[in-house]
């Protein structure tokens, strides 16, 4: 699902009242699947009831989904896509044998879909989910509204399943405002 479709879906869902916004945190909570995180402040969790295709990640925000989005994937199995199944989604399938460089390419493709301009700034090994993982930073120009975004992500593969969190927000003001909270979430993340 590219960003334009996604924004359309968000708007349409809000218009018809099927988007459920639920505050989460602060404190330890179940983020998605088996992933537990500790929040230093409350976030807004969005759920889209009856969404088809079903969402494959949780979506949280501080200031609204059109501004900042924290996406959380947990328990993505081999050959499952990290984007909702659509006609072209097979290109976004996770495979358990993927190495960090391949996963970086997968997330790049996911965030570049719809014509967004993505530029990896940094990728490095890190500790995530109490084990080896990868941390990456990127810039993105969102085609739908021409907004310059900054992104930060963490991912790791455990028991052949992909777990990841990726935060994106406008480069000016919004990303710097929330990035420390996101770093804390990443550091706190564990699997049940």
């Amino acid at each position: 699902m590219n960003i334009r479709n996604w924004l359309s879906m968000v708007l349409a869902s809000l218009l018809v009242g099927c988007a459920l916004v639920q505050p989460v945190g602060p404190g330890e909570i179940s983020a998605r699947g088996r992933m537990l995180v500790t929040l230093d402040k409350a976030w807004n969790k969005f759920e889209f009831s009856g969404q088809n295709p079903a969402p494959v990640s949780a979506m949280w925000t501080q200031d609204g989904l059109t501004l900042d989005v924290l996406r959380i994937w947990s328990g993505i199995k081999s050959d499952e896509a990290i984007l909702p199944k659509e006609s072209e989604a097979s290109s976004f399938n996770f495979r358990a044998a993927m190495q960090p460089d391949e996963l970086l390419a997968l997330f790049e493709a996911a965030y570049a879909t719809g014509g967004n301009k993505y530029k990896l700034v940094k990728a490095e090994p890190t500790t995530f989910l109490n084990g080896s993982g990868t941390r990456f930073e990127f810039f993105m120009d969102r085609k739908a509204d021409n907004v310059k975004l900054q992104g930060l992500g963490y991912f790791a593969v455990r028991n052949n399943e992909l777990h990841a969190i990726v935060f994106t927000a406008p480069r000016l003001a919004f990303f710097p405002r929330h990035v420390q909270s996101v770093e804390k979430i990443a550091v706190s993340a564990t699997l049940r």
């Binding site: 218009l15 390419a105 014509g115 301009k117 990896l120 700034v121 940094k122 990868t134």
Partner: protein
């Protein structure tokens, strides 16, 4: 061109109005007179004085869009490239090039468009796919053909009528862009004759300005070869522009026929490549980012055959093979990477690819050697820390 005749950005209604186009001026020409004209023979396109007229109001909307476009993060700010595009437009379009504002946009798909007010957009994916200046001139000539024939006016009026109907049905406010697209597509077939006319006008103007006209048809044969690798994907799914345009096969056939008695002319492969050179790294990265690996492999095979001395093209094909990951792809990637390292200026990504393949095959020493080569060639690469961690992991 499979190019929309209009720019796209803007609000719902503006988009709906803008997404289609036709030709009013074309009606002023008899078909026999049209057959002999060049782009340069057409009257100058002037801004309407009456801003309250259909054309005047549309022109004003387009000007407003241009202000948005100018601020777009996707605009390629390369004065040398823009100057070159203008120079080619002037060769093929004569004085009409003076009215153009040319924007090269970073988008890996194949598209170009021109608006009634002279805003010409050309996407980087199209630039990557042109083999030479003659092919670029064919594209620019086609767009100029729409421009001088003022094809936009009829399409604007038609779109306005259709968007009015859509609004009456409640489509536009709810569906916005989607509704606009659907409305526009309903009239798409009407405009296809304009595409053939613009092709023919472009080809005559190419001939008149000394280009090799046979290159025009190759644009379409090349693109068809790319798209043919995915039998499940119709060209119209690649870009909305194809929905409003004749089939590539038809256009290729007509252009081939129109150029059949021509021989020679300026091609300009080297001068074109020199202009594109500063962008090549980004263009190739963007191409891989499409994740249309089958198409990328076809494209890189063609481009590397044209320019066998380059390491980046063959290395990019290696990347496409490696990331696609079908049976035997690793072996194909390996062959490409090795070939790329043997060029005069080896591509860093070839060494990274060799390292990654060796790592996956557990050839630790060879992997470390290749990664070290990569880091020596690209010490500030974004993934340098990650690759360094691979080296450490294998040398413990």
């Amino acid at each position: 061109m499979p190019l929309r005749s209009e720019s796209v950005p803007g609000s719902t209604r503006r988009v709906a109005l803008r997404l289609a186009f036709g030709s009013l001026a074309a009606m002023a020409f008899s078909s026999s007179a049209r057959a002999q004209t060049l782009i340069a023979d057409h009257a100058a396109v002037v801004k309407p004085k009456d801003i309250g007229s259909d054309e005047g109001s549309f022109w004003a909307l387009l000007d407003r869009d241009e202000a948005d476009l100018r601020r777009s993060a996707f605009v390629i700010h390369d004065p040398g490239l823009i100057g070159y595009l203008r120079q080619v437009a002037c060769k093929v379009g004569g004085a009409h090039c003076e009215g153009l504002r040319i924007y090269a946009l970073r988008n890996p798909e194949f598209n170009a468009s021109i608006a009634l007010n002279g805003v010409l957009q050309i996407w980087s994916g199209l630039l990557l796919r042109m083999d030479n200046e003659a092919q670029l001139a064919a594209i620019l000539g086609h767009e100029l053909g729409h421009y001088v024939r003022r094809n936009g006016i009829v399409r604007f009026k038609d779109a306005k009528t259709r968007s009015g109907a859509a609004a009456a049905m409640g489509m536009v406010p709810l569906l916005g862009l989607i509704g606009g697209l659907a409305t526009m597509s309903a009239g798409a077939s009407v405009y296809r004759s304009h595409e053939f006319e613009a092709d023919a006008l472009s080809l005559r103007s190419l001939r008149g300005s000394g280009y090799d006209t046979r290159e025009a048809a190759k644009v379409w044969s090349n693109l068809r070869a790319e798209l043919a690798v995915d039998a499940n994907r119709h060209a119209s799914s690649q870009s909305a522009m194809f929905a409003t345009h004749p089939g590539m096969e038809d256009r290729q056939a007509k252009l081939t026929d129109q150029a059949k008695d021509d021989a020679g002319g300026f091609v300009g492969a080297e001068v074109y490549q020199a202009q594109l050179e500063p962008l090549m790294h980004d263009l190739l990265q963007d191409e891989l980012g499409r994740r249309r690996f089958d198409e990328t492999i076809v494209l890189m095979t063609r481009l590397s055959a044209l320019r066998p001395e380059r390491s980046d093209l063959i290395a990019t094909r290696g990347e496409a093979f490696r990331i696609r990951g079908k049976p035997d792809d690793a072996a194909s990637a390996w062959t490409d990477y090795l070939a790329a390292t043997q060029r005069e200026e080896p591509s860093p990504i070839a060494w990274r690819g060799i390292g990654l393949l060796n790592r996956s095959w557990r050839r630790r020493a060879d992997a470390v050697h290749a990664f070290q080569k990569y880091l020596a060639l690209a010490p500030t690469a974004p993934d340098a820390a990650l690759i360094d961690s691979y080296i450490k992991e294998m040398t413990i």
